[in-house]
């Protein structure tokens, strides 16, 4: 008869085997495959040659041999553009959400539930549908231009659609719920008496905000920023719908390499770079959390 101890081990084994197989085979292995592919030679008609090849990264960072693979600064530019776009999205959602989170935190619990529900609701609606709405708003004959023209504020339609501005607007719009929730968690826990103490001691509003409120709510600010930054970096759907050729981002470049250019190794190399950026950000974030956990 099995002892309780071995029975327990068997139970644990049964609980963990499915997740181990699922994530081992269909998550860790594919990630490893991307890394391997990024160091292989692209085949002539798609596919790969099993040969060590570092020019994929050379094409991106500048040590391409100039014969088989050519260094194009445009790739690096697109990478930097995507990073700055992700940072811009973070800042925009932060500035948009912070006052509203503060406003909701001062409402009665009943109204808080209502407004938090209203913030999360769009998250459950299809992403493509939400972007499509912005297509309708921003196009030359769209709502924004008709309104502004009708009011006589502009004399000819603004060209916003298919620019980087459109991408930032669309990205911020879809990322709002991700920024809002961590932010609200921090601002909701803010000790109101600290703000009162600050103003009693003669600090102005601006000073109270920067010296008391912002430092107190920093965990939410950083948490929200990380959660928004990560999916923004490699996003290809928003630039695809709203960005056009001018708004091309690294995600679109990866998509092209896989679905039209059929250069999988180069696409893999680009993905490895996205992965590295994300892991880097996560690493800094987690170390910070651990350090703060120790300090308190």
């Amino acid at each position: 008869m099995a002892t309780p101890h071995t029975r327990e081990r068997l139970f644990l084994f049964g609980l963990l085997t499915p997740v181990t197989l699922l994530l081992g085979i269909f998550f860790l292995l594919p990630l490893a495959v991307i890394v391997i592919y990024s160091w292989l030679m692209p085949g002539l008609y798609g596919g790969v040659e099993w040969e060590f090849y570092h020019w994929n990264y050379g094409r991106l960072f500048g040590w391409a041999d100039g014969v088989m693979e050519i260094y194009e600064p445009i790739y690096l530019k697109i990478l930097l553009r995507s990073l700055s776009l992700a940072i811009l999205t973070v800042l925009l959602t932060l500035v948009l959400c912070y006052p509203v989170a503060f406003w909701i935190s001062r409402l009665s619990p009943r109204w808080q539930v209502v407004f938090l529900f209203l913030i999360t609701l769009p998250f459950f609606t299809s992403l493509v549908v939400r972007l499509y709405a912005w297509l309708l708003i921003l196009k030359p004959s769209g709502v924004l231009n008709s309104t502004l023209l009708g009011m006589g504020l502009i004399s000819e339609p603004l060209e916003i659609l298919f620019t980087r501005t459109a991408v930032v607007i669309g990205m911020a719009y879809v990322m709002i719920p991700f920024m809002f929730m961590p932010l609200f968690a921090s601002i909701g826990n803010l000790d109101r008496s600290l703000l009162e103490a600050s103003s009693d001691l003669g600090a102005g509003r601006v000073q109270t905000f920067f010296k008391v409120m912002l430092p107190q709510t920093m965990p939410g600010v950083i948490g929200g920023s990380v959660i928004v930054f990560i999916p923004s970096v490699g996003n290809f759907v928003v630039p695809d719908v709203l960005g056009g050729a001018k708004g091309l981002m690294i995600g679109n470049l990866v998509e092209q390499q896989f679905l039209s250019a059929r250069n999988w190794p180069f696409g893999s190399a680009l993905s490895v770079v996205i992965m590295a950026v994300v892991l880097g950000v996560m690493l800094i974030y987690v170390t910070r959390l651990v350090r703060e956990g120790r300090a308190s």
């Binding site: 997740v19 998550f27 549908v129 499509y132 709405a133 490699g234």
Partner: protein, 283 residues
């Protein structure tokens, strides 16, 4: 009004800004809904009277206007394609929800109730799929399936969805697990119940709200996933988001408004019911 007058200017500005913020969130959705009833087939911006024709067209109850059929950009070839995509999405979401709920819940129980050497590793592993950009996971699975000689289709999509949705279920069930009292399970064991019986009669009923919440989230995300599905779907396994994505890519057409409105309606109903159930449980 009395209330407003008592408020200092800054508080009024804050309220005003917050209401604007909510208008900003909802105006785009309201716009689609409005347009879906606009009879004007050429320029949606011009209101031409109320109609349900676009709904009739996507449901196959009415043929589309001749000028749209004849134009080269006619693309909603048939209602069948739309229904096929919807059917695929439902099959995928149902299977994915079932599988990832079972696996995610098991993992959450294992990590909460057992101490073992690899615990830290598993905790990190469960977080990883959520932090990995979906495009990376999508192409990783694409290369993997193609090199393994698997045919891209519903099965590959279901597997792909399970890899990241299991993590979502795990997080939610784990949060529920943390609030439970292990003494109840110990009492059950002391009274002679074996692990399985304790699991079924004591742990599972208490975990149920977490499991249901995780399953609901998995279903919604699976129904809406575009990026991973986009890379690993075959030609005959288009899902609803991929279908709409390709429609939007080919240009703005009045039918899209009607489809989008239906999607908004259904997702709002699902989310409202889910959140309402959760709020009621807390009372």
């Amino acid at each position: 009004m009395k209330y407003l007058r008592r408020l200092p200017l800054s508080a009024m500005l804050l309220t005003f800004y917050s209401l604007l913020f909510f208008a900003f969130i909802y105006a785009p959705l309201a716009l689609i809904v409005t347009y879906s009833f606009n009879a004007n087939p050429v320029n949606m911006m011009v209101w031409d009277g109320f109609t349900l024709d676009w709904y009739r067209i996507i449901l196959g109850l009415k043929d589309r206007p001749v000028d749209i059929v004849n134009s080269s950009s006619a693309y909603l070839d048939s209602t069948d394609q739309l229904l096929e995509a919807l059917r695929n999405s439902l099959i995928i979401a149902t299977s994915t929800t079932t599988i990832s709920t079972v696996i995610g819940t098991s993992a959450a129980i294992a990590l909460a109730r057992f101490r073992f050497r690899m615990r830290g590793f598993y905790r990190g592993l469960m977080m990883m799929p959520m932090t990995m950009p979906d495009i990376v996971l999508g192409i990783g699975l694409l290369i993997f399936f193609v090199s393994a000689g698997a045919k891209l289709g519903l099965t590959t999509i279901i597997i792909g969805h399970c890899t990241f949705l299991t993590s979502y279920v795990f997080i939610i069930v784990q949060a529920r697990m943390a609030g439970l009292d292990p003494a109840l399970e110990e009492a059950s064991a002391d009274l002679g119940a074996n692990e399985w019986l304790t699991f079924r009669k004591v742990l599972l009923p208490q975990l149920m709200p977490g499991i249901a919440g995780g399953a609901m989230l998995a279903f919604i995300i699976s129904m809406d996933d575009l990026v991973i599905t986009y890379f690993i779907s075959g030609t005959d396994s288009t899902t609803l988001p991929v279908f709409i994505f390709s429609m939007v890519r080919r240009g703005v057409k009045p039918e899209i408004n009607a489809i989008a409105t239906l999607i908004i309606l259904v997702s709002i109903i699902i989310a409202a019911v889910g959140l309402w159930l959760r709020a009621r449980r807390k009372d």
